[in-house]
């Protein structure tokens, strides 16, 4: 009776988690997308936006 419901929601959760683990790595950081290819004297910097602020937190909480 419940087999289809459980299977269905399990597949949904599995797919969502799989997408959640793979797609965020496809995001492009703003420091790469919105900076010109001029002189590089330093790292992009992480003040104000944090060093991958929410991805590190996400990894911790998973």
């Amino acid at each position: 009776m419940m087999r289809a419901i459980l299977t269905g929601s399990a597949i949904a959760i599995l797919l969502a988690v799989a997408v959640g683990l793979t797609l965020p790595s496809a995001r492009e950081p703003a420091y790469r997308a919105f900076s010109a290819s001029s002189v590089r004297v330093d790292e992009p910097g992480e003040n104000l936006v944090g060093h991958s602020w929410e991805t590190s937190r996400l990894r911790r909480e998973f």
Binding site: Y31, S35, G45, G50
Partner: protein, 198 residues
């Protein structure tokens, strides 16, 4: 209490981008995040005008209205600030902002666009004034030190004005009277729903 506003006198702006650089340096802004930027209209044509634009700290701020977690607040100086601890990186504030002020560390929207960053009128954030934590999240708090935003302070042509709305409007009015022309207070009607009558 003062009502802090920005005013860019487009007839004086020479597109030197020093305001952008000063802002970057003062708050240690990372690459790709542009709290302030200079846009040139009619580039290379007659009537070319450059305008330095950042968060205008609007009246009835659209970003604050559409935020799904209500992370924005207004200081007693009328500065619109937000809490990065609450921000979920949805990007709505950028769609609502008439001036393109909100910036995000991530371009795609899978999961989150990261913690939104924008001009704070050099007034920090909800953290304790002038603390390391505040600097890390929102940059330097010059207002707490009794100073005005650095972009306007160091503007070489005094095109960019920052300060109490009444006072900078008066300065602009006098300028327009003296020189006989002026292209208007850019963005004021959208941001503050009032214009400077000259």
């Amino acid at each position: 209490m003062a009502r802090m506003k920005f005013l860019c006198d487009a007839d004086r702006c020479i597109e030197c981008n020093a305001c952008v650089t000063a802002c970057k340096n003062e708050h240690d802004v990372p690459w790709g995040i542009n709290r302030r930027r200079v846009i040139t209209l009619n580039d290379g044509k007659l009537g070319e005008r450059s305008i330095s634009m950042a968060c205008m700290h609007c009246e009835d701020a659209p970003c604050a209205a559409v935020c799904p977690v209500d992370c924005f607040y207004r200081t007693e100086d009328g500065v619109v600030l937000h809490s990065k601890d609450m921000c979920i990186g949805c990007g709505y504030c950028f769609y609502a902002c008439p001036f393109g002020a909100p910036q995000y560390p991530q371009v795609g929207n899978f999961g989150s666009r990261g913690k939104m960053d924008k001009c704070t009128f050099c007034a920090g954030g909800p953290e304790e004034d002038s603390t390391a934590d505040e600097y890390r999240k929102y940059g330097r708090n010059r207002l707490a030190e009794g100073k005005l935003p650095l972009c306007a302070e160091m503007c070489s042509t005094k095109s960019l004005l920052a300060g109490d709305g009444e006072m900078i409007a008066q300065i602009y009015r006098e300028r327009v009277r003296q020189r006989g022309y002026g292209s208007g207070a850019w963005g004021w009607r959208t941001a503050y729903r009032s214009d400077i009558a000259v």
